[in-house]
């Protein structure tokens, strides 16, 4: 009998029951992602800390507005990096890709298209951005193809890409600076005119609030239809009220950032009106790049949670073999993930070149590291399978807050890097500690 190994070994692990504490059970009732809540708390601590240390100059409408604009491009790209990292891959080529795509879009509108459709053509920016997005999807997809079908590790493929695309970007214009950008295109970067004004910002805020409430009601109704548990009404109402309050409060606060008098005067004069005596407050409102980032965040959240592609990305990250056995085309999914990253890089490139009103071959240097750091600070696990889009956006905001804050505090540049580096490691350390306890 000893020749046969015994079967039916008892290896039942009981699901870990965490001791319910009052706050934890409140969170469970509210059904809130506690990790996301922790990040929001960390962000608030950073904000308030810098605000106090800077003598009250950080949490001003003007500074928050700037912060939102500065965060936009990295936030857009970090949402794509989440999916890449979730599939147990990495994309180190983001910064160099950004340079190539930015350069291509700049060359199109500054040197190629004017000869064909004429300078200042209203469709100029559309063609440039569309071309950039196609190029991004192609470069990303190509790298993804090598990763998925040829089997070269993504670290190597994209490390190669980092060098290759940087060289190509230089080559495209022999190192020249390409400028200026199309007038409409420039709006994508924010700037003096690249915002939607106070009124439209309110409309966006109100639409967002309606959207939040509609989604909550819809979710509740669906779950009730199936006879599932729902949150208590008070919990739903509380979460809804807080969400709407944050959205509308944020808009109200940002809208207190007014156009400088010079620009306000110019705007009146453009409209053929007399600038009122004693000045007038015109709200800047949300900047166009911020709107783009919000739109991308919503779209990417949708893709990662409501579409089968997103489900497959997470399944591949959790267990590639299981995904394959489940009949998922895992390789093709990887290619699509990288192509999507390329598309988001193109959007980031548009924001950055529009903001600079120029493209240079050094564009986007080190951006890959900021994008990866944002995703990782946002709770994306390099082991794969875990990560959220809103987390990555918050991660981008945390990083940008630290950097802007330190500039505001007059911290030396080398020390800024040191702080950001330390925060990155601490954030991941806290996250892995949390993960060990919760699973």
């Amino acid at each position: 009998m000893t020749d046969v190994p015994p079967g039916g070994a008892e290896q039942i692990e009981e699901a870990v029951e965490t001791e319910p504490r009052s706050f934890a059970s409140l969170l469970r009732t509210l059904d809130i992602d506690s990790r996301l809540l922790g990040m929001i708390a960390a962000l608030l601590v950073i904000w308030i800390g810098i605000h106090i240390m800077s003598g009250g100059t950080f949490l001003t409408p003007r500074n928050l507005w700037n912060l939102s604009v500065q965060t936009a491009a990295v936030a857009v790209m970090a949402t794509g990096m989440v999916l890449i990292i979730v599939t147990r891959n990495i994309d180190l080529s983001v910064g160099s890709m950004l340079a190539v795509i930015g350069m291509a879009m700049a060359l199109l509108q500054a040197e190629i298209l004017p000869d064909i459709i004429g300078f200042g053509h209203p469709l100029m920016w559309v063609i440039a951005v569309a071309a950039g997005i196609i190029l991004g999807a192609f470069i990303g997809g190509f790298q993804g193809f090598i990763v998925a079908y040829v089997g070269v590790p993504s670290f190597i493929v994209t490390l190669g890409g980092l060098l290759v695309w940087r060289g190509v970007a230089w080559w495209m214009a022999s190192g020249r600076t390409i400028a200026p950008m199309d007038e409409t295109y420039q709006l994508l970067g924010g700037g003096a005119r690249g915002n939607i004004g106070g009124g439209w910002s309110w409309i966006v805020g109100i639409l967002a609030s309606i959207g939040i409430i509609w989604m909550m009601i819809n979710r509740r109704r669906t779950r009730l239809n199936f006879g599932f548990n729902v949150r208590p009404v008070w919990a739903d109402a509380l979460i809804g009220a807080i969400s709407v309050g944050v959205v509308l409060g944020g808009i109200a606060y940002l809208n207190r950032y007014y156009l400088p008098e010079l620009l306000a005067r110019a705007r009146f004069e453009d409209a053929g009106q007399v600038y009122p005596e004693g000045g007038v407050n015109i709200s800047q409102g949300l900047a166009v790049p911020v709107l783009i980032a919000i739109g991308v965040t919503l779209a990417m959240t949708f893709i990662s949670t409501r579409v089968s592609f997103g489900r497959y990305v997470f399944a591949i990250g959790g267990n590639p073999e299981a995904a394959e056995l489940g009949g998922i085309k895992t390789r093709w999914t990887i290619v699509k993930t990288f192509a999507l990253m390329g598309v988001l890089v193109a959007i980031g490139a548009a924001i950055q070149t529009a903001r600079l009103n120029a493209a240079v071959s050094g564009l986007g240097q080190l951006t890959e590291l900021y994008v990866i750091a944002a995703a990782v600070i946002g709770g994306t696990s390099l082991a794969g399978g875990v990560g959220t889009i809103p987390g990555a956006v918050l991660g981008a905001l945390v990083m940008q807050s630290l950097q802007s804050g330190m500039v505001l505090l007059g911290v030396d540049a080398p020390l800024q890097d040191i702080v950001v580096g330390v925060v990155l490691v601490i954030a991941v350390a806290i996250d892995s500690f949390y993960r060990k306890r919760s699973v």
């Binding site: 009998m1 039916g8 409501r306 089968s308 489900r311 497959y312």
Partner: protein, 264 residues
């Protein structure tokens, strides 16, 4: 039952299956059949080739040569997707679950339910998962947590629920009870009998004859990639099957002293 069922068309008829890894013949000219409502145990020691053989049926591994007939029709099975087209469902020894996603998502992995807009219908999937699970393991309630945080038995339930939900005609279970305690093992045993009664053909793969002897109608013993023999359970003793597994000797060939050696 096997004498009568032999007359009908087998559900699965695998002929002269061969798989080689480099120079090693993992499966070397194996024939095996499975009839509706029948449980065939495929047993053998480590490296006997039983898992590889069955992987050619589940689409996880392509056979180098051989013919698979499903209901008498030749079938091309090259991917897990192909196998599912023939209503072949597999419960892998590793369970093949994505640990980071919840039970309903795992059950429907690769075959998600969609809303009329083509979006994931998580509520419908959860609902279906609850109804299947209500049958298999009524105590199971953790539908919204990653399967990572479930116990071994609960994970097994998820893997079984996946196979059962899609109306398998042919079910492959690789070491179905290896990771389970006595209570869960008896649940799986009950389930196998229930599925059998519904006319589903089941391959049970195990390295241990004690796990499957009571459940099996026929026992196929493999050794070093070859089929030692397929016997009706009613006609053999456990010891005779052990002799087949360990020595590669058919019941008639094994001597009394061989059998006694097994117990040394």
């Amino acid at each position: 039952m096997t004498t009568e069922t032999k007359q009908e068309t087998p559900l699965v008829d695998m002929r002269d299956m061969r798989v080689a890894f480099g120079g090693v013949h993992a499966v070397d000219g194996v024939n095996i059949t499975l009839f509706p409502g029948e449980v065939v145990a495929v047993v053998g020691g480590n490296g006997a080739g039983k898992t590889t053989l069955i992987k050619t049926l589940s689409g996880a591994h392509k056979a180098d040569s051989g013919t698979i007939l499903i209901n008498g029709e030749p079938a091309q099975i090259e991917t897990p997707r192909d196998a599912k087209q023939y209503a072949i469902e597999t419960i892998y020894q590793t369970l093949a679950l994505a640990e980071n996603i919840d039970a309903p998502s795992n059950m429907f992995l690769g075959r998600e339910l969609k809303t009329r807009f083509g979006l994931l219908d998580d509520s419908a999937m959860e609902s279906a998962a609850r109804s299947v699970m209500g049958r298999l393991n009524p105590k199971f309630q953790n539908f919204k947590v990653p399967v990572k945080s479930l116990s071994g038995g609960q994970r097994q339930s998820v893997a079984i629920a996946r196979a059962v939900h899609f109306n398998a005609k042919i079910l492959i279970m690789d070491e179905p009870t290896a990771a389970l305690g006595p209570l869960e093992t008896s649940q799986v045993t009950e389930l196998i009998q229930q599925l059998k009664a519904e006319g589903i053909g089941i391959f049970l793969i195990s390295h241990d004859i004690h796990d499957v002897f009571d459940l099996a109608d026929r026992i196929a013993v493999m050794m070093q990639g070859k089929m030692v023999g397929i016997v009706n359970k009613t006609e053999v003793t456990k010891d005779e099957v052990l002799a087949m597994i360990i020595m590669g000797k058919l019941p008639g060939e094994a001597t009394q002293s061989d059998i006694e050696h097994l117990h040394d």
